[in-house]
């Protein structure tokens, strides 16, 4: 087992408990690895860095929203690799490239390299957020972007605390759907 696996798994276990700092570090580290993976794959097919960045973000969203499907009894790397490969194949199918171009490699190679040269993705999340219903938008902006507590957000948005939580949960899912749709066009 590599040291990456041990460190990333420890971060994942903490993030499943709701530890924000671990969750952030985990997603940051995974995103640079995913970037190296997607850039490598797409460069071979003559695709650009912006498309790779879209895929990185789709995969990061998937890691976040599907983190309940990670089984702590298993290593983390194959789980991330399966998501990364699934999103790549889905992207290639959408853009009509044969899936035979995607070799099934060892899970370790997905996570072998970092790439921190960040490109802009092709969409703007602030613009997408304008399409969300008011309570969802207000709750996400307050808690996720401005870092307010749930209680403070409840006061600002004029809804109950459980309401803020529900609106964040639903709003982020809706946002992920919008992002997926945006990167698909």
């Amino acid at each position: 087992m590599t040291t990456h696996e041990i460190e990333l798994k420890a971060l994942m276990l903490a993030s499943l408990e709701g530890d924000a700092a671990s969750h952030r570090t985990l997603l940051k580290r995974l995103s640079s690895r995913l970037r190296a993976y997607y850039k490598g794959k797409l460069a071979r097919m003559g695709r650009g860095a912006a498309e790779a960045e879209d895929l990185v973000q789709e995969a990061v969203l998937a890691v976040h929203f599907k983190r309940h499907t990670y089984d702590p009894a298993e290593p983390l790397t194959p789980w991330v690799h399966a998501i990364a490969r699934y999103k790549l194949i889905d992207f290639l199918r959408r853009t009509r490239t044969s899936r035979t171009d995607v070799p099934i490699e060892e899970a370790d190679t997905t996570m072998a390299h970092d790439d921190n040269v960040v490109a802009e993705s092709t969409y703007d999340v602030r613009r997408l957020m304008q399409r969300l219903p008011k309570n969802m938008r207000c709750s996400i902006e307050a808690v996720k972007l401005d870092g307010l507590s749930v209680a403070e957000a409840a006061v600002r948005c004029g809804i109950s605390e459980p309401g803020v939580k529900v609106n964040i949960h639903r709003g982020l899912k809706a946002l992920a759907t919008l992002i997926a749709r945006e990167t698909r066009t």
Binding site: G18, K28, Q57, T69, D71, P78, A82, A107, K165
Partner: protein, 213 residues
Amino acid sequence: MKTDDLVDLLSTNPEPVDRGLVVRTLLIALGAGSILALGITIFGLGARPDMMTSGALGFVVAKVSFAVGISSLALVYLAKLARPGGERKPRSYLVAVPFLVIVALAAISLGLAPSSRWNKMIVGDEWLECLVSIPIIAIVPFAVAIWAVRQAAPTNLARTGAFAGLVAGGVSAMAYALHCTDDSLPFVAVWYGGTIVLCTLAGAAMGPRLLRW
């Protein structure tokens, strides 16, 4: 947008995650699917009239066990397939065991019977009803199983769809067994086994479309 902004967005105040959610959702789906399938069978077709006689009860229990065995085994693998990379887990061919057992038992019972009775044993009285009913009853548990798997994240959609179909076929056969009065082993092997396989193939065909995320 920069990926780092997205990461910040996602990692401010994250909720703790319920680790048992995948398995619990599938179990709820199995329970709900079973209740619905039983309801459709009892209210749509009616329970067999001789259900509580000692002769019939043994056959009902045998057929129900065959079907429940298939569903439970399939659910174990469905729970693995519902997670990313779950298709790499080995030994999913174990789900064939109940089929092999019933086919072996059917062969033995045919071997013990005179060949003049074979036709009656295999075709039974209601083969057509069985052939139609099990796949139709399976639609509801299949829909519930697909809903449950969609809460998770399968990465091999055809195989996951196949196992969802297998679970649904088993649940449907379990329910149909309460109505069916054909009690020979070859009948169960051919018409129950066959229709459950049919449900599995249908699930495999529909999986990639229904399970995309």
